[in-house]
């Protein structure tokens, strides 16, 4: 199925096992990737910057932790900070919140996905990766209902299959792909 959407942004949600899948997906991207990518990776609350540092060593595209009120730019992969929800505002800046955990998670994938869907609507691509819970399923549903496109990592390639399965079970996932296929899908967006 050919997706006709002209994306303005990509959101990714990952939990347990996410670092490996994320590396497979982000490593092939060029430094001048034409879209912003916002990621919630569940992480320990007292871990400050390690995830970003580890990934940056492997990737050409710029990786950073999202700052409060920061303006979203193309070609940057933004990670939600540990212990804060990451939200997207209408003027395409970030907000952080310390509201109660959602799905036992802070940051929560649903919070990012739902606010991103409000702002980018059909110009949003949402990707759900490996994880041992069901965070992100409600977000996937919302992205799809707003006209965006949704991808889940194929459960058999996921270290923990619960999260992609929960998303797929909502009935709102359009593509099921391996990490390498997801990466190729993203690279194909450059040529569009």
């Amino acid at each position: 199925m050919e997706d006709k959407n002209e994306y303005h942004a990509i959101v990714i949600g990952a939990s347990a096992g996410g670092l490996y899948a994320m590396t497979r997906i982000l490593q092939p991207l060029p430094a001048a990737f034409p879209l912003p990518i916002m990621v919630v990776q569940h992480r320990a609350k007292d871990e400050r910057n390690l995830l970003e540092e580890v990934l940056q060593q492997k990737c050409k595209v710029r990786i950073k932790q999202a700052d409060e009120k920061e303006a979203i730019e193309n070609g940057v992969v933004y990670f939600a900070p540990p212990d804060y929800h990451l939200l997207i505002e209408n003027d395409r800046t970030f907000s952080l919140s310390f509201d109660a955990p959602v799905n036992f998670s802070r940051p929560s994938i649903d919070v990012l996905f739902e606010t991103a869907a409000d702002v980018f609507e059909e110009r949003l691509l949402g990707i759900i990766l490996t994880g041992a819970n069901n965070d992100g399923a409600a977000g996937i549903r919302k992205i799809s209902m707003r006209g965006g496109v949704t991808i889940a990592q194929s459960p058999e390639t996921a270290d923990y299959a619960d999260m992609p399965k929960a998303a797929i079970n909502t009935g709102y996932v359009r593509h099921i792909m391996t990490p390498d296929e997801i990466s190729r899908y993203l690279l194909a967006l450059i040529k569009k």
Binding site: D67, E68, K69, P81, Y84, L87, I88, E89, N90, S95, L96, S97, F98, D99, A100, V111, E114, T115, D118, V119, E121
Partner: protein, 270 residues
């Protein structure tokens, strides 16, 4: 976007009717809280919510208490408290009488953390802590000084990491599942309602803590609130913000010196 426009109109009418101003809050967060309030209370949409809260003051009170409550914990970000001990306490000790303002104290965990820290540093007896919040229910909880036993493991770990000098259990009494903070901690604490978006400065302080509150405001309101803190600090007074907050968007940025960049502790220098 149409959906957000409806929220804006709703917040405008709340401001007009009740004088609570949320129009300069970070929109995505407010909308999320309003939506979750509607879900919990089975309210079909914004129009219905509007009809409900505009004519029924009790319903509005309930609404306001639900959407303004902030989450907090004892010694959250232990390194912050460690830094207070190292960089701020000895300066505070030079004052004969110390005033501390904890703005947006919510259910009071930060207030009790600060009281414990000041007691261990020998300063609590000559300190008054002003603990304020917009949310009356949260303030009442803060005054009651109650917590639950299931939190204690996490709080104890935080306390130790924050450089605690005693045993954390010295500071509370447990009964069944409840925990009551040591009453003597409360002697020098004044709790009162204060709305950062609308109310003025009410005293002069040596230390102001306002942590994880500014993140809920837009840049313009953040700037106003920093101005308010600036006015409320004595010369060389200290300001402590949340881990992800900064003075980046504040006109008064240059009037502060960074005391601890990582832990977001600033000193008013001019």
């Amino acid at each position: 976007m149409i959906a957000n426009e409806e929220y804006r109109q709703f917040l405008e009418s709340v401001r007009f009717v009740y004088g609570y101003d949320f129009t300069e809050y970070a929109e995505a967060s407010v909308i999320r809280r309003i939506r979750s309030f509607m879900e919990t209370n089975r309210i079909g949409g914004l129009k219905e919510l509007g009809r409900l809260v505009m004519k029924d003051e009790a319903a509005f009170e309930h609404f306001i208490q639900e959407i303004t409550v902030n989450v907090t914990e004892m010694f959250r970000d232990p390194q912050f408290y460690k830094s207070l001990r190292k960089n701020v306490v000895n300066r505070l000790a030079t004052y004969p009488f110390i005033k501390v303002w904890i703005a947006g104290c919510s259910t009071g965990e930060e207030v009790y953390s600060m009281a414990i820290l000041l007691r261990e540093e020998g300063l609590l007896e000559r300190t008054v802590i002003y603990a304020t919040d917009i949310n009356q229910d949260a303030l009442q909880k803060a005054k009651d000084g109650l917590s639950t036993i299931s939190n204690m493991k996490n709080y104890t770990e935080n306390y130790i990491k924050a450089g605690g000098k005693n045993s954390f259990s010295d500071y509370y009494k447990a009964k069944y599942n409840s925990v009551l903070w040591d009453k003597s901690l409360r002697q020098n604490i004044v709790f009162s309602v204060h709305n950062l978006a609308m109310d003025k400065s009410f005293n002069e302080f040596q230390l102001i803590l306002c942590r994880n509150v500014l993140i809920y405001f837009n840049q313009s309101l953040q700037n106003k609130v920093i101005d308010l803190f600036y006015e409320s600090l004595c010369p060389f007074g200290f300001l402590g913000l949340g881990n992800k907050e900064s003075l980046l968007f504040a006109d008064k940025q240059k009037c502060f010196e960074e005391i601890d960049k990582k832990e977001k502790i600033f000193m008013k220098i001019k």
